[in-house]
Symmetry: C2
Subunit: 568 residues, 2 copies
């Protein structure tokens, strides 16, 4: 039997993963990988850490070389080689060696496209002057390191508050640069809701990062005479002028579909390659994986672009199975993602509140602030958690968490629960590993489930942080049940104070003709208070997440106006 | 309406949890908690850390006082008060104030038993002499601290290698004592399989703990003349004599059922209180929760005793719901548990191999050793993982993990997957949060699922660590595909060495008339080699977990003899 010829375009996450899996399934296939860049299988997600020096050696970013892939897998890798065109009827690709300029062609029985994504280039005047960098591959970060060293850069401006922008902010700060972060939206890390992003804003400010939110860049100007050391001056819509010795452009990425488009493959409305449930393109001999494709959002059913390494790797494996005659479905993605930002970790899975509102889906949102482990054991840190669920079925829609410890674990548990279709009742029942250094007898995930259960069972109704600014004192009383000492450290303006232990003795001070919204620090004691008050005949709601959520939201400009106030 | 009278016996995990939940559900009930000990709602699981000084203040262990429970919840707590008897027909309990000796009675509409467990007292000569301690409550650990200080104790013997025994070993070592740990079984932490417990044995030995496995204590003897500083000499069956200034007895606990038995409530065969799916005892007005009850093992369906704080707390909540007319089922427990031991974390969920063998359930076991996060980012640590699954359905039976980082997260994800009924295919597909500091594009849980998938899809057959000792060289060749450098640091005796990159060129050196078992360091490269060899017509199996699992197993005495060799 003639051995099959499999060609893969792109040798990083999805492409490399597919190639290795194909070899395991078919020892006799000829597998050729074409990679436009100088490196195959490099650690994309590690790039910012090389700039900051947490990863010290360039070699650590290079997970494989063409030689190591040949030795281990008999995969032929041609780096610095671009696939120029696909001849679908002949089943060949035309390739060009970018070093020599030589062209040639390669036949395939199956073709996998894993071309990745390219950075969004904003249409800014002055973009092409030196000192402006994208962060997409190893040469990019080497150039950034070289530039910083050669120009003794002290001031950096990072444009874009997504994952790369935030990681670059952290890493440039770690190198000792003064960093300004500019974001056109009113918040960083768009998958978070604005009140959760508030924790990141607070952390950035506390680290001395100059944060410019809701303020897009309008131009990259040459420095004035007096600013001649700077590479550029970043001008914002508000009029701010930020002199920078180095500018990082991290406005996101878009699918690299040039090759696919020229080959006449179907594209989606978002500009990614359209694939079926088996990752096959509109050509039966061509599959596609990774940042270049559109995938189904498993929560909403919508097509989406999700340029993340985890899904890309799994897609590579799925495509390999399908290419090798082992039909395997890729059902879509859940949008699980995580970021470390200085001492904080922020992570999310599934749909956020912004998306649920946009799609008009029914939801309830619970906020809570449990400790990362048992409070009596040293070192516990609060985790700001938010879970979103369908009040009818109890099914989880999504979850977000921000904190200094234990965030990754809780989001991974919640991602697993989401993927398994669990309800908030199931979350309350999860039997998670408890010893004092690791968790609590009731884990944060259990507590989130229990808080949601209480809503579904009619034990409490919730008020949200964004309602606070718009309360009508004639109709609503805001009651703070924290201790006097806590209250001295900050309180929601207009709130009335009765500490929880005194509540039952001071019921006569509370109005029966107005709704009472009860707050404490985290929403737990205020829930207890709600139960007391309701059973004494008061109309009450619990401010979920209470003071901590409310105060974090104030770190996000305009957020207090609420989700209808344009926080999309 | 007359307010209901609810009496709770026992004011720690399950009892305290029930009391607080009942108040939220019924503001008007009279709730009385009787606690035999001096403290209510103390941090049971924190006790060892108070001995070692990680928890410095006794007050940190006291989560509530009778006063704080009254202030917040209007719960009447009577400490140092024992419930002597239950009059089920009159629905009263007879109580005695242990301080004054006064007796009285208290009527109930609903009674919740949360009496907990008592330490197993071994029938050892000399048990009652001073210097021997159990670890069950705050006075116990205060007595241990006092004894150590007053006697300037230098040598400790801990009897029993369960959670408490191991935590006490760590904490006494932390205080600077020389510690011997004695366990009658050939391994510590019985919920782990012997090869996984091997990691703990290695860690204990590397910390300088004197480890005596498979060697029960036969007597606690008075010290000889020359040993007069010692409190006792612990004599082992093997003849070893261990002089000790302090002896910790941690042989496990048994349900405290004196009250229940005298009241004629049904007990189970394991000696715990029998409850139904709503945690109701054989008396319709009496519920029971916590360490005193038997629960269903959710994996095997068997009754079991599971004295853990997490389940106890959730049972308290469930019983409260049922007492308050909100029918809620408690379906049983999954046995999720975790231990920190020096730098290691060990955790498990679901059924282990020992149990599956005993019950004759069909299973496959996969071992792997993935990094806790991306290898290119500093600080990644290997995690020794084992998952057990039904080869037919692919459903997970259980999982175990040991390592220095990220163990708790993976076991919590696997516990969630187990509870949700996921298959190994689902594990492979889980979309977990990936950034370099937290995980890998293919998380350890994904890799476990993929390894199991490969077995189910017929891509590889597995050999287990315990087969290695019994290989017949006439029928089997053991092939090591690691690098020469790795092999110099240790190898399985009798193995033949061909590094993976040379394999395809040296096929002619391998026998076609014998089975080849392939090993590497972790089982990953050996899997690649298996795929190569099988597709070239060889009969092969992959040594799952490979050298690392095999060498860890050797830390457990007798384990090499395998599961049929009496390792139950």
């Amino acid at each position: 039997m003639k051995s099959r010829r499999i060609v893969i375009v792109g040798g990083v996450a999805g492409g490399a993963s597919a190639a290795a899996r194909i070899r395991r399934l078919d020892e006799h296939a000829r597998i050729v990988v074409f990679e436009r860049g100088p490196h195959v299988s490099f650690a994309n997600c590690g790039l910012p850490y090389y700039v900051g020096g947490e990863i010290t050696q360039r070699e650590e970013l290079l997970l494989h070389t063409p030689q190591s892939l040949w030795d281990r897998f008999r995969i032929e890798v041609r780096v610095r080689t671009e696939v120029m065109a696909i001849d679908r009827s002949a089943q060949t690709v035309r390739v060009r060696d970018l070093t020599t300029g030589e062209e040639g062609s390669e036949g395939y029985d199956a073709l996998i496209l894993a071309p990745g994504a390219v950075p969004v280039r904003p249409p800014l005047p002055g973009l092409d002057r030196p000192g402006h960098f994208f962060v997409r591959n190893v040469p990019d970060v080497e150039a950034i390191r070289d530039w910083i060293e050669q120009h003794r850069a002290r001031r950096a401006v990072v444009v874009g508050g997504g994952y790369i922008g935030l990681e670059m902010t952290e890493q440039l700060h770690r190198r000792g640069l003064e960093v300004a972060l500019v974001e056109a939206l009113p918040q960083v890390m768009a998958p978070l809701d604005p009140e959760m992003a508030g924790w990141l804003h607070r952390e950035l400010r506390s680290q001395g990062v100059h944060l410019h939110l809701g303020d897009p860049v309008t131009a990259l100007e040459p420095p004035a005479e007096s600013e001649s050391a700077a590479a550029s001056v970043v001008r914002l819509r508000s009029g701010f002028r930020l002199p920078a010795d180095v500018v990082i452009l991290a406005l996101g990425v878009r699918p690299e579909v040039t090759l696919a488009r020229h080959a006449g493959l179907a594209l989606g409305e978002l500009g990614g390659i359209r694939v079926d449930d088996y990752l096959r393109t509109s050509d039966p001999h061509i599959w596609a994986v990774g940042d270049a494709i559109e995938v189904r959002d498993r929560v909403t059913g919508q097509w989406t672009l999700l340029p993340l390494a985890g899904p890309a790797n799994r897609q590579g494996r799925v495509a390999a199975n399908n290419v090798c005659g082992r039909p395997t479905r890729y059902e879509g993605s859940w949008g699980t993602a995580i970021l470390r930002l200085f001492g904080l970790t922020a992570a999310c899975t599934g749909a956020n509140e912004k998306t649920l509102r946009r799609l008009g889906l029914p939801f309830e949102a619970v906020h809570l602030h449990p400790g990362s482990h048992a409070g009596y054991y040293p070192g516990a840190q609060p985790i700001a958690m938010k879970i979103l669920f369908d009040p009818e079925s109890g099914r989880l829609w999504g979850a977000q968490a921000v904190g200094r410890d234990g965030v990754d674990k809780r989001i991974d548990v919640l991602a697993t629960a989401l993927q398994a279709g669990l309800t908030v009742d199931d979350l309350a029942d999860l039997e998670l590993a408890y010893a004092p250094p690791f968790g609590s007898a009731k884990d944060p995930v259990n507590l989130a489930g229990m808080a949601a259960q209480n809503v579904r069972q009619g034990l409490v109704r919730l008020a949200q942080w964004h309602e606070v600014e718009r309360l009508d004192p004639a109709r609503t009383l805001l009651l703070d049940v924290r201790s006097a000492e806590e209250r001295r450290q900050g309180a929601i303006p207009g709130s009335v104070h009765i500490p929880l232990p005194q509540l039952r003795d001071r019921l006569q001070e509370l109005p029966r003709d107005r709704e009472i919204i009860v707050a404490c620090a985290s929403g737990q004691r205020s829930y207890f208070a709600c139960r007391v008050l309701e059973q004494h005949g008061f109309r009450v709601r619990n401010l979920t997440g209470s003071y901590r959520t409310w105060s974090a939201a104030r770190e996000t400009p305009g957020a207090a106006a609420g989700p209808s106030g344009g926080m999309a």
